[in-house]
């Protein structure tokens, strides 16, 4: 055990770590937004859609949920150019993350939709609401409210899982750590620092989501 820690070397790379963490946050939040759009559309399609649409949504969800994110990322990055779509690494990362999160969001939102009592929908019909209005006002909001905890946990997993996009050299936190490592070779300190930043982000979001839940969604007695 003749190893001296040199966190001093790491300190000089603070701006790089910050930039990497910022991109990780940006990628995750954008994938959350796109993924939620995909998720809500597919969940509605699965619940109310015609048979072919239902099948398409079902195949998408099952396929994404039963294959690793890394392979989906490779598909977007290596295989899409064969179809004439060449994306820079950070765009490929965002696309793969959105497609991936969309499948989980679909499953979660669908569970929420199914939790809305049928009587509510009948009440909406008897008030003369159109189907689109029923979906918007009676089903979607309570559904998302019901699955809020599941969605937020899923978002934290998305944030942590985003480290995998370093495999295609998107410049997020893990890729930055790899770059610094290839210059300084202080692997232990570098990866420990990066891990600490991830842990801080994950726990920070967990705390934030918990607080929001208590303020806005928790039943008031």
């Amino acid at each position: 055990m003749n190893y001296t820690f040199q966190f001093g070397t790491i300190a000089s790379y603070t701006p790089d770590f910050a930039a990497g963490a910022w991109l990780t946050l940006r990628l995750s939040t954008m994938a959350l937004i796109f993924g939620m759009i995909i998720g809500c559309l597919c969940a509605v399609a699965l619940t109310y859609g015609a048979k072919p649409i239902r099948w398409a949504a079902l195949i998408y969800v099952e396929f994404i949920r039963n294959t690793p994110f890394l392979i989906q990322l490779y598909f977007v990055f290596f295989a899409l150019p064969s179809f004439g779509l060449r994306l820079p690494p950070s765009s490929a990362a965002l696309l793969a993350m959105s497609i991936n999160f969309g499948a989980y969001a679909t499953e979660i939102v669908r569970a929420g939709i199914e939790a809305v009592p049928y009587g509510q929908i009948e009440a909406g019909r008897s008030l003369g609401l159109r189907t689109s209005q029923i979906v918007r006002f009676i089903v979607m909001f309570p559904a998302i409210k019901a699955v809020y905890p599941a969605l937020t946990s899923q978002f934290v997993l998305l944030l942590l899982g985003s480290s995998v996009v370093s495999a295609i050299a998107a410049e997020e936190l893990t890729a930055i750590a790899n770059n610094i490592n290839s210059v300084t070779f202080r692997s232990f300190e570098i990866y420990l620092t990066a891990t600490a930043i991830y842990v801080a982000m994950a726990l920070g979001f967990k705390g934030l989501f918990g607080a929001l839940h208590r303020i806005f969604l928790a039943p008031r007695g």
């Binding site: 055990m1 003749n2 190893y3 099952e62 396929f63 949920r65 039963n66 294959t67 690793p68 994110f69 890394l70 392979i71 490779y74 598909f75 290596f78 295989a79 150019p81 064969s82 991936n100 989980y104 499953e107 979660i108 569970a111 929420g112 699955v147 599941a150 946990s153 899923q154 934290v156 997993l157 998305l158 942590l160 899982g161 985003s162 480290s163 995998v164 370093s166 495999a167 893990t174 750590a177 490592n181 692997s187 232990f188 990866y191 420990l192 990066a194 891990t195 991830y198 842990v199 994950a202 726990l203 967990k206």
Partner: protein
């Protein structure tokens, strides 16, 4: 020198799949044992034990798998310990799986009615006896569907070991892509193999859930 993507290449991918399965089994059984210990500590009457377990679970659930592997594989070398990618991956996946399974199982233990604990107390059962004879057998039933469901996450998670240079299915796919330059064929085949491993587990988990009438949303990792 480019090669065709033919039967030989598929066989190579299938050979690499053995490592994916081996890693999954190590992670599942190692993580299962450690996870059970953590889950038991998490509900024990001793506060310090509960805190240690809670800290471990929180910490490892908030650490990306990839970073955990990097720390074990590249970081540990500096302490004069040399471990290979297989060992690093085994340790990393065991720790991570343990944290997630412990959290799942704690939920199952907590869903056993409180009266069962009180009844056991009234009959002068000790904590280990209560757990072993009364609580765990009931929790096991509830735990089966989400545990099988989590196995899917374990299998998918092993792909991350590719990024520390361990040749399992995902990395074999990248190698094949490099020499055949047929990304669509290669990654379709790789996806199909993962799907063949994971989908039966997903179906089984859902079937068990329906049979036990425990409906809840499963949160899963990428």
């Amino acid at each position: 020198m480019l090669r065709e993507f033919g039967p030989n290449e598929v066989v190579y991918l299938l050979m690499a799949t053995r490592w994916t399965i081996a890693l999954s089994l190590v992670a599942f059984f190692g993580g299962g044992l450690l996870g059970l210990l953590l889950a038991v500590l998490r509900v024990s009457p001793l506060t310090p034990l509960r805190l240690i377990s809670a800290l471990f679970i929180q910490l490892f659930q908030a650490t990306p798998l990839l970073l955990l592997l990097m720390l074990l594989y590249f970081g540990i070398n500096f302490f004069g310990v040399r471990i290979d990618a297989w060992t690093a991956a085994s340790i990393g996946f065991t720790l991570s799986t343990a944290a997630f399974l412990a959290e799942i199982w704690r939920g199952c233990i907590n869903s056993v009615p409180k009266l069962q604990w009180e009844g056991a107390r009234a009959l002068a059962f000790t904590f280990p006896q209560t757990l072993r004879l009364i609580i765990l057998p009931q929790a096991l039933r509830i735990a089966l569907p989400p545990t099988v469901g989590y196995m899917v996450q374990v299998v998918k998670g092993t792909s991350v070991a590719a990024l520390i240079g361990f040749t399992e299915l995902a990395r074999a796919g990248v190698q094949m892509n490099t020499i055949t330059f047929e990304p669509i064929l290669v990654f379709s085949t790789v996806s199909a193999i993962y799907f063949a491993l994971c989908w039966p587990l997903s179906l089984l988990s859902r079937k068990l859930e329906r049979r036990l009438h425990v409906g809840h949303v499963r949160v899963q990792s990428m």
